[in-house]
Symmetry: C2
Subunit: 423 residues, 2 copies
């Protein structure tokens, strides 16, 4: 299989689709009839199985069995059962992942726990350009704790060189894939580098879980959180997940002491005693409808080969950039994501990011043409590449539409300039 064909044609892309072992997975999703959906990294599309799952929870479990469902349908263990399913997707051991709350809340739990695990160290590292909620949750925690904690926002180079990890650093909270430019960290190497400096890394897997094979256990990852509604296709605002390596679980102290994290939730004791294992990261009552939808999304991943998913994501990115190079020259577009120069070293998540001063209205003009990408301030056009739903030929349609928009200055209409809410 050629990774870099020289002058790409639509026929080449169609042949890639014919040879794609994941080609039929697309049929398991509800997708717009026309157009191409490049926002699976913002909100994954609806799996066809989801309706049935949710309907069954409504009809039988909630509707008929009511509170008996806590045991009869094992609602009570759903956060951990779902955690183990996600664990298989991210390369964790059974009992290392729980599904609960939102990514933000899970960040708070693990940030606070990480500081406890590194007493005497007062610095929290974040990377320039990281996703704001990761920063905000750090800021909120530090503000709450008072005292001498300090958040340092550092350049990627200072992380990669190890320079950022001085003896005061308790933890770094890093995105595996940078949301804006798609740059990818080497999780294993960075975790080892931090470990050698006595620090923990809390990985945010929001933009990688479900898009590429992850090996949290093999990579010796300590702590991670991730999102259910992006590549895992769990639905808008789906519950998030968190991962704690086995060896840290018994010493992990997270501060959100809800009844579900208690050693005996039904004993209704006066004093909190954390449950053993990953269960101590749970807090309140689990949202069953949302968990059922998330389960339908995650189950699809258990049927596919994640190595193939990762390969397809990379190849989609290569070919997208090749089309950009070959067809958009002189139209004011710059490539804003890392380019990979070898198959051995992956530098980019499953997304392509382009830059243009008029990125916002251009994205709107593309959306009008059925090409759903998204805008990231100040000037980035972002295209998420969900390997389960995209066809290689979709890239042709996308770049052809982009060329048409650029050549005709189609974006230069007032209604494309109105800013609305997009996540």
């Amino acid at each position: 299989m050629t990774i870099f064909p020289s002058a790409l044609t639509l026929k080449d892309l169609q042949e890639s689709d014919s040879a794609d072992p994941l080609a039929t997975v697309r049929d398991r999703f509800v997708l717009p009839e026309a157009g191409v959906y490049f926002c699976g990294n913002s909100l994954g599309p609806l799996p066809r199985a989801t309706k049935g799952r949710v309907h069954e929870v409504l009809r039988q479990q909630w509707g008929q069995d009511l509170i008996r469902s806590w045991t009869r349908h094992d609602w009570i263990d759903m956060p951990l059962r779902m955690g183990d399913k996600i664990g298989r997707i991210i390369g964790a051991l059974p009992g290392e992942v729980a599904v609960a709350d939102s990514t933000s809340i899970n960040l708070f739990k693990l940030l606070a726990a990480a500081l406890r695990l590194r007493p005497g160290r007062n610095v929290l590292l974040a990377e320039e350009g990281t996703f704001p909620t990761d920063l905000y949750m750090m800021q909120g925690l530090v503000d709450l704790l008072g005292g001498s904690y300090e958040i340092r926002i550092v350049a990627r180079e200072a992380l990669l060189s190890g320079q950022a990890f001085d003896p005061d650093v308790a933890l770094a909270c890093l995105s595996h894939v940078q949301f804006r430019d798609g740059a990818l960290h080497d999780v294993e190497a960075m975790t080892a580098l931090a470990r050698d400096a006595g620090a923990l890394v809390l990985w945010d897997l929001a933009h990688s879980a479900g898009a590429m094979p992850l090996h949290l256990h093999r990579w010796k990852v300590d702590l991670a959180v991730g999102c259910g509604y992006k590549y895992l296709n769990g639905g808008p605002g789906a519950p998030a997940f968190l991962y704690v390596a086995k060896h840290l679980q018994q010493s992990l102290e997270q501060p959100l002491w809800g009844w579900l994290g208690h050693a005996e939730p039904f004993a209704l004791e006066e004093a909190y005693r954390p449950a053993d294992g990953i269960r101590r990261t749970l807090c309140g009552t689990p949202p069953i409808l949302s968990l059922a939808a998330l389960e339908a999304g995650c189950d699809l991943f258990l049927e596919v080969d994640l190595e193939q998913v990762g390969k397809k994501g990379r190849r989609l990115g290569h070919l997208f950039l090749q089309l950009v190079d070959e067809t958009l020259e002189g139209l004011g577009i710059e490539v804003a994501c890392p380019r990979e120069t070898s198959l051995e070293r992956q530098l980019r998540g499953s997304q392509v990011c382009l830059r243009h001063p008029d990125a916002f209205p251009i994205v709107q003009a593309l959306i009008e043409r059925g090409i759903a990408g998204d805008f990231r301030a100040p000037d980035v056009l972002r295209f998420g590449l969900s390997p389960l739903i995209l066809r290689y030929a979709d890239l042709w349609q996308a770049v052809a539409s982009l060329r048409e928009v650029l050549e005709t200055r189609a974006w230069d209409q007032p209604h494309f300039h109105c800013r609305g809410a997009v996540t």
Copy 2:
């Protein structure tokens, strides 16, 4: 309408049903064909409208409109739109309620915020026998903050007399209705008493919202949280709500700084700036499927007169206790909830609690007979009285079944003694 008829007959109860202005609301729910459901205070039943709402979110909003739904279907403002609906149910002003996260997480936000609002005071009060998660969240916060904070668990008498409110008390976190014995606080009086002592009360409305009229604004309540899956019928693990009185909102600092609580969530700024108003209590991305289900539950309350709901709940309780008195004498049952002696002063939430040394197997034997109540350790049989779904005649069936179980010692079989999970 007689509140205390002298010797109650089934016919009396059936006549009460005929005269009940809420009688037809029951038809808006999916309910088991036989039996009586007394667990609406644990998991409210499925409204018939819910399936359609959830289906529409799946089919059109998520399935077809995908990320455009954040604006097109106003997903982004759903937490506040839903908050205003719940605000009408609990007597809050528009903009005083948000729907978000779980009750436990919302407790954490407002507990931490309340301590900030009362600097120099270091005591958090809780009531003996309060719901454990309320205590646990206090314990987790105090453990995180370190320093000199102290949780004092005090008897109801010490709260009512005001004795508990010494000058060190920053806040009291109190359940409006005690989950185990159904005892009801006078919210207005207790809030005023605390206010006079310079303290705040954070009310947990889990067992009252949707079961009786609440008047948070009129009662001058400062802070409150509540649950979506009990009397509000939002579905298992439905999102929770929180209330912050207008006058406190601009000085409120809650520590869970997620992107959705930012003044400009889409500007992706590096520094957190809390949004104005109740929006600053939001944290992560809202769970849209669960919010849609909760909306279907709450919308039903906007069609009924909450004064009638409250009256029916009280009358169901009176009549239940009267039947217990008249028919269960000498069978080892004690009444474990407050008895009301006047119509003016309400002492009991919308539930009846009985006590028996073998409460656990008795509850199981009742469940086998279709009478779904629940057990609360160590010896309480709890019957939630959801005014929207219960018929007066259901009380007859329940107490008759209970008498049969007690008279025949039907509970005295090994399989009724196996402890399982019930929430």
